[in-house]
């Protein structure tokens, strides 16, 4: 079993599924010979040919619309947006068509497609290359929004996303694409969608997060442990449909919650989780829920970019504030 990075988990899942399901096709700009700008599709064109790893013209609208058409014809397309900042031209097709096809036709035509995009900041990229914009999709009915945070979850969740009969927006936290390796068996075993993963058990406070911030949140839990504070860490993984039960169970146990998100604070997905806690767990709380988020600003160019990303220190400080409140 080889130790692989998160992006290799993506490649491994694509290769596995393309080998076992001839209806799976990969499309996007540069996905072919070049293997994608981040090399997520490296080697696939050689293995499966230029028609199953389909280099499109440079037009995100076309990539998304072709994906809808392919899926409607019974193919399983996996489309790549080079950066999540380029996903906006795809939104009309994803929102107006991919997400609605099943409902519009009462199930006659469906759209089992995956829209992949490298997501989030922290890699010293130019403007429009570093957004965290998952919340733009979590309010769209009929879509799954998935954000893996480790090599194993990238592999297992992408397999699940491709096999899912409905459209999935699959955001890949590019800051941790190559951060570390872990052993991931290439056995085609998918991980479940629509469930949160409890990464660390704890009793004093619940830390809820997703994507690249899982790293800082786990570091914060370590730091808190050194001070005798037991933090439970939850990786949401599938934002919508949300597995709120896992979060509720944890909050009921700890009575305290900090939500960590890379996206701007206002109307981000953390607001949804906080609202659900207020609706369903208010009387379990010992202190107000606190969010640690990106500021409500455009992602800065890279000289200041790190100041936008929630740091381990900010998460620790927020947790201590919650603990001090009750």
């Amino acid at each position: 079993m080889a130790a692989i990075t998160l992006i290799e988990g993506v490649t491994q899942a694509l290769a596995y599924e393309m080998k076992h399901d001839p209806s799976v096709v990969v499309l996007g700009e540069d996905v072919g010979v070049n293997g994608g700008v981040f090399r997520a599709t490296q080697g696939l064109s050689e293995k499966f040919g230029e028609w199953r790893v389909f280099d499109t013209p440079l037009d995100e609208t076309t990539i998304a619309g072709l994906t809808v058409g392919l899926a409607a014809q019974g193919m399983k397309p996996v489309a790549e947006a080079q950066f999540e900042g380029f996903i906006y031209p795809m939104m009309e097709q994803i929102v107006c068509h991919a997400a609605r096809m099943r409902n519009r036709t009462r199930g006659r035509i469906t759209c089992p497609a995956v829209f992949r995009a490298p997501w989030g900041g922290g890699i010293h990229a130019p403007e429009h290359h570093s957004e965290a914009n998952e919340h733009l999709f979590t309010n769209v009915p009929g879509l799954r929004v998935v954000l893996p945070s480790s090599p194993a979850r990238a592999y297992g969740l992408l397999l699940a996303a491709i096999r899912d009969p409905d459209p999935v927006v699959f955001f890949e936290p590019k800051r941790i694409y190559r951060q570390y390796k872990e052993e991931v068996p290439d056995d085609g075993e998918a991980l479940p969608l629509d469930v949160c993963f409890v990464l660390r058990d704890g009793t004093d406070i619940t830390l809820v997060t997703w994507g690249a911030e899982v790293k800082e949140t786990l570091e914060a839990a370590d730091a808190l442990a050194k001070e005798g504070i037991s933090a439970e860490v939850i990786d949401v993984a599938t934002l919508t449909p949300l597995d709120f039960d896992t979060i509720a169970e944890s909050v009921q146990k700890t009575g305290r919650c900090v939500i960590v998100q890379e996206a701007p604070k206002t109307a981000g997905f953390g607001a949804e989780i906080a609202a659900r806690i207020a609706e369903e767990c208010l009387y379990d709380l010992l202190a107000p829920v606190v969010r640690v988020a990106g500021w409500d600003i455009h992602t800065p160019l890279f000289r200041l970019e790190q100041k936008q990303l929630p740091s381990t220190a900010r998460i620790v400080a927020a947790a201590k504030r919650v603990l001090a409140a009750g």
Binding site: D59, T67, L70, A72, R102, R106
Partner: protein, 359 residues
């Protein structure tokens, strides 16, 4: 001076507005008068259907409805050019093509009457066609994606999309014909140029002399036809579709027609276009044109016309009654098609909605 590229756009017409042939080389299908009568019957059915739809809307039995008055030759011509195995990605008024492919009037009434089941066509070949696309031009890419699927699977099928003159300004249209040209996809994009995109006239929609020539930039075969002459539409579309089926590439066919009615029942075209223009357009009526030609060929007469009108009225009345007698879906149906399997959160919301119904 060296010339990098030169192009010409052919204009195809067989019948003039008076129904008189303008050229002698009628295509084979047009020499089969029984076939032409069948096409005529569907054009008349489409018009009766459209009249009925507007009446239903005016009496509060339909929601907003997009009329197809004046488009009968273009729409029926497109539908008749396709084979059952081909795939159609329509805009929201191509009923003539859809009726040809097995969409029932009651389906259209259901859709505009506010019921999603109207897009669940039960009969082939319409069953494998796309439903109406309300966002302008987006369906062109669905057709291109379908064409890509056909090419990948080595199926001898063709994807046909229709787009308005306004829609031909959209990036989706260009994206679709561009990728079709780059990869030789079996795509035929039919521009239904009815001169008006709601209130915006063709002349300020694009500076291009023809809309067909937009396909030149994408490397496709391009032609402009008289969209009120069903022989021209059927010939150009038939040739384009068969060329695509043979693997010889995609086409853009511009059908020049006219929107005789309002954009939708929520629109009042008198606000932005002159009475004279519409009166002049009626002189090019596609239904009358074909009837005049068929009558000259002794293939049609008043008696047959009266019988057809009666038959169409009866058909539509039956369809209207079926639509009106169809009960609304239960409230649970709002939830049941959001995902293949309902997520836990939606199960709860569905139960909440059901409980409200029982109160």
């Amino acid at each position: 001076m060296p010339i990098a590229a030169k192009f010409e756009i052919e204009y195809l017409q067989y019948l003039d507005p008076e129904g008189k042939p303008v050229r002698k080389d009628l295509p084979d299908f047009a020499q089969n008068l029984d076939y032409m009568v069948e096409l005529y019957k569907l054009m008349v059915s489409t018009r009766v259907f459209d009249t009925k739809s507007i009446a239903l809307q005016r009496t509060g039995k339909l929601g907003t409805y997009a009329s197809c008055l004046g488009h009968e030759a273009t729409h029926v011509g497109i539908g008749a050019s396709m084979k059952p195995e081909d795939v159609f990605a329509p805009s929201y008024r191509e009923y003539g093509a859809q009726l040809y492919r097995g969409v029932r009037p009651r389906d259209v009434y259901m859709y505009w009457g506010g019921d999603e089941r109207g897009s669940d066509y039960p009969d082939e070949p319409a069953r494998h066609d796309f439903a109406w696309s309300v966002p302008i031009g987006t369906q062109c890419l669905h057709a291109a994606g379908s064409a890509l699927a056909f090419k990948l699977r080595k199926e001898k099928r063709v994807a046909v999309c229709t787009i308005g003159d306004g829609g031909s300004s959209k990036a989706d249209f260009y994206g679709a014909i561009n990728v079709a040209g780059a990869r030789d996809l079996p795509l035929v994009a039919a521009i239904v140029n009815n001169q008006w995109a709601i209130s915006v006239p063709r002349k300020i929609q694009s500076g291009a002399r023809t809309l067909a020539q937009k396909g030149i930039a994408a490397g496709l075969f391009c032609i402009q036809v008289d969209g009120n002459d069903i022989i021209a539409v059927r010939k150009a579309m038939g040739d384009a579709i068969e060329r695509a089926r043979k693997g010889d590439g995609g086409s853009v066919v511009e059908c020049v027609t006219y929107r005789l009615g309002d954009h939708t029942t929520a629109d009042d075209a008198r606000r932005y276009r002159g009475k004279q223009e519409v009166e002049d357009a009626w002189k090019k009526d596609p239904v009358k044109r074909l009837r005049t030609w068929l009558e000259a060929k002794k293939a049609w007469n008043k008696k047959k016309e009266d019988a057809l009108q009666h038959e169409c009225e009866e058909w539509m009345d039956k369809e209207v009654n079926t639509y009106l007698e169809t009960r609304a879906q239960p409230v649970t149906a709002m939830f049941d098609y959001t995902f293949a399997e309902l997520p836990a959160d939606l199960v709860k919301q569905r139960e909440e909605a059901m409980a409200l119904e029982k109160r």
